[in-house]
Symmetry: C2
DNA sequence: CGACTCCTACTACAATTTGTAGTGTAAGGA
DNA sequence: TCCTTACACTACAAATTGTAGTAGGAGTCG
């Protein structure tokens, strides 16, 4: 399950998926249980306008092809669920992106980090400072 | 000039552009002067296999549409040059991405930053520590 | 058993992005 | 006037994402 892009537009799952894909993943991840296409379709319908069953199926099966969803064939209707938890997914993306960012921009990124952290949540600055200390201590 | 994606694959300009677009931007940014399509095409030909003039033109004009290149109509052949310097471009992307990363992942990103910095270049850790101190002092 | 419902597979189309390239036109020089 | 050449316009292909029709098969109900 290799993501292609991190999108500048949107937020949350929309950074990684198309709009419909994101909504579907959202639903799957919000449900502890495995779900059928119908389940997902009905949840979608509650939120927005009616979605064609086949549309939902196609997108879900594409997500299976991409390795994001797992499909278990059951008698009447197949069960789908994410391959990894949302937390694990975000963890992976965060790690990958952070590494890429630093590889790509090096000290340029460092400069912006401090500003960005301060802007988003100054508490994160202390957290970061703490992490650095720990890292250095371990050597 | 709003970029769409940061690609996980590739490196450098390939993170932001298609392969040919990236090569073209590379050439434009490496040349202090404005260049014609022909200039760019010939540079490309030196590096790789022959490129059709029209192909280069189409891609360059698309880059103009995207606001990445500027086109100045001259008598016989138009002059093209990047709207911003490579440094300014990288600066903008770095800033944008860092902010997005932190908005999206918050403290998750903080954790990975330290590891990533240590992995790529431990010297960056000191730099970061320094920056944090400065930021805090100013308050 | 036969008819019906409903899930699934297969297929197809549209828009967008990126690479590729042909054709036609117009402008400038010989 | 004719020719070269740059440019505009147009088109097509592959990939990505959203959308949806059709057909077949499997279970259900009478």
């Amino acid at each position: 399950m290799k993501m292609q892009n991190f999108k500048y537009e949107g937020s949350g799952l929309n950074r990684f998926f198309g709009p419909l894909e994101a909504k579907i993943m959202e639903i799957l991840w919000n449900n502890a249980e495995e779900m059928t296409i119908k389940d997902v379709q009905q949840k979608l319908d509650k939120e927005a306008k009616a979605n064609n069953f086949n549309t939902v199926m196609t997108v879900m099966n594409r997500l299976v092809d991409k390795g994001v969803l797992q499909k278990k064939a059951v008698a009447r209707s197949s069960q789908y669920k994410p391959v990894v938890t949302r937390e694990a997914f975000m963890e992976t993306q965060s790690k990958e992106l952070t590494l890429d960012l630093i590889e790509e921009f090096g000290s340029l990124a460092v400069t912006h980090m401090v500003d960005a952290l301060d802007k988003v949540d100054p508490g994160l600055l202390d957290q970061l400072e703490q992490k650095i200390k720990e890292m250095k201590k371990d050597r």
